[in-house]
Amino acid sequence: MTAAPDTQGKTATPQVMDKWRRRGLQAFLAITAFVWLVPLLWAFYTSLRPFSDTAERGYVSIGGTYNFDNYTQAWTDSEMLKFFINTMWITIPAVILILFFASMAAFALSRFSFRFNLLLLMIFTAGNLLPQQVIITPLYRMFLALPLPEFLSPSGVFYDSYFGIITIHVAFQMGFATFVLSNYMKALPGDLNEAAFVDGASVWRQYWNIILPLTRPPLAALAVLMFTWIYNDFFWALVLMVTGDQRPITSALQNLNGTFFTNNNLVAAGSLLAAIPTLVVFAVLQRQFVAGLTLGSTKG
């Protein structure tokens, strides 16, 4: 599948030209890749230097001290750990619920033919493509009005509670996950159901024992993708979570910037700290992340 034929012989131009063109391309890609890394490298470099050094020598300079003090300061002053924990309270339940609900819906939509199958799938997918701001105004009022028991929300309503934030993530991202999973399940052989029916397996057992285990690859891919997306959410928590201390890290950065991150060295350290979980995803779970992204565009 990845066997890319060599470009040699594809063109009518002589071999020499081809070689030079390849070198040119190589150089172009190398430069582009380097340019792409500059912002992160620059942030890292800035973060390693004490503010006094950069103030004295300028930001574009070498020499002086290099250490991780900015990280320690950014971490402790802003109580960053708290915001990471907040993020986990939201992200982990949300991802699990999304996969659970979306796989159920996808199973029903892909393995059985209802009259409204297509319409429902379209509603799910379209909902996920809407800009979040389209629904925020009424949603904000709904969140203020809808009651929740005390143990789910100290505020007594959806607004300003983890439960509320989890709910909107689940409702919103479910569309994409359902779309991806139903495409995948559709491609599984139909005989699986038929055989199970003959054996007298209930619909639930077909879902849980037969289809779901076969759906592991896209579930893993979606889990990674959803984790990243929800971790990266800025908007929902900004609007629907008023207590600053309860905000997840991505939304909290807005307040930390200027209050605790008072110079670029600290901004750099704080930003990179906040980026660590997703950079770990990039490094370790890259395959799943890319698979998740592309599952939605290429039919699984």
Binding site: A105, A126, Q133, V134, P138, T178, A268
Partner: protein, 317 residues
């Protein structure tokens, strides 16, 4: 596809449908309704109900105080005011259009171009690919912070390299309303290009190599092969990429909000909506009218796209 075969497909499908449902017991049917119903209910209640309420509330005046009975119905007044006396509206429309134009004409084609080059699998391809794709895992809010380190007037990379950090000659990249949108677009493209590259590369890998070989045997150059063979074959992916580009342009919010809360040259429709709920004055009807404008534009893209995708599926099934 001819009408005749479409009919045949429909008939065949109808037959299997009947067969399947005969096999279901009442209990199984109940379980299925639950499995589909609960997710559908959550999704519709928290996404589509607010979307429809946006439309309804856009014809009203309500500051959110005094409950639902305090809502005053005022017809199209909100829309009239949005278009005539709301200062950020037209700048926001223009900025969203510039955003869209920049992405469609520059960032997205560049991402596709890089994917095509990386697909040639030269030495180091994997490394280049990774470098381009790192920003994709970062949030746009974080992208905003990281680029602050480059743009900021006194402590930023560019001004320090240019030696323009003195108050009298510094360039305020993010503060000057005639350039800041473009600077933000560059920062946003840093992420967008990688995103498009990854998607398109996956598409390119799915193209049957035999097609390219056949074109090469016929004497096509690699450029001809791409434009006449690969690009047309990738039509579904091309459409996905176009839709993603448009939607991302409409959604743009985080990066301008962390930069200056979407003011002073960075007004966007998404920010305008948000400011009418979390700003000092909560103007629900007015904010809804802005949201409806965004909704109509979005659905104008989303519905034809989904219609096309799912209909093609149906026929192919």
């Amino acid at each position: 596809m001819s009408t005749r075969s479409e009919v045949e497909v429909a008939v065949a499908r109808e037959r299997t449908k009947r067969k399947r449902f005969r096999l279901l017991t009442n209990r199984d049917l109940g379980v299925l309704v639950f499995m589909l119903g609960l997710p559908a209910l959550i999704h519709v209640f928290f996404v589509w109900v607010p979307a429809l309420l946006s439309i309804l509330l856009s014809f009203s005046r309500w500051d959110g105080i005094g409950g639902v009975e305090a809502i005053e119905w005022i017809g199209l007044t909100n829309y009239e005011q949005v278009a005539t006396i709301y200062p950020p509206f037209w700048p926001a429309v223009v900025h969203n259009l510039i955003w869209l134009g920049f992405f469609i004409l520059i960032a997205t084609p560049f991402g596709m171009f890089l994917a095509v080059q990386l697909d040639k699998e030269m030495k180091g391809s994997k490394f280049y690919q990774n470098a381009l794709y790192v920003p994709v895992v970062l949030s746009l809010a974080l992208v905003g912070f990281i680029w602050q380190l480059i743009y900021s007037p006194e402590q930023g990379l560019i001004n320090n390299v240019l030696g323009r950090t003195d108050p009298e000659n510094l360039i305020d990249w993010l503060g000057n309303p005639s350039i800041n949108l473009w600077m933000i677009l560059i920062a946003a493209s840093w992420r967008h290009v990688g995103y498009i590259m990854i998607l398109y590369l996956a598409g390119l890998k799915s193209v049957d190599p035999a097609l390219k070989e056949a074109a090469a045997i016929d004497g096509a150059t690699s450029r001809q092969t791409f434009f006449h063979v690969v690009f047309p074959v990738l039509k579904p992916i091309n459409i996905v990429i176009l839709v993603i580009t448009i939607i991302e342009s409409l959604r743009a919010f985080d990066i301008v909000y962390v930069t200056n809360k979407g003011t002073n040259g960075l007004e966007l429709l998404s920010v305008a909506v948000t400011n009418n709920i979390i700003g000092e004055a909560s103007r629900i009807g007015f904010g809804s009218a802005l949201a409806v404008i965004l909704l109509i534009v979005s659905l104008g893209i989303i519905i034809p796209y989904l219609w096309r995708t799912f209909r093609a599926d149906e026929v192919a099934a």
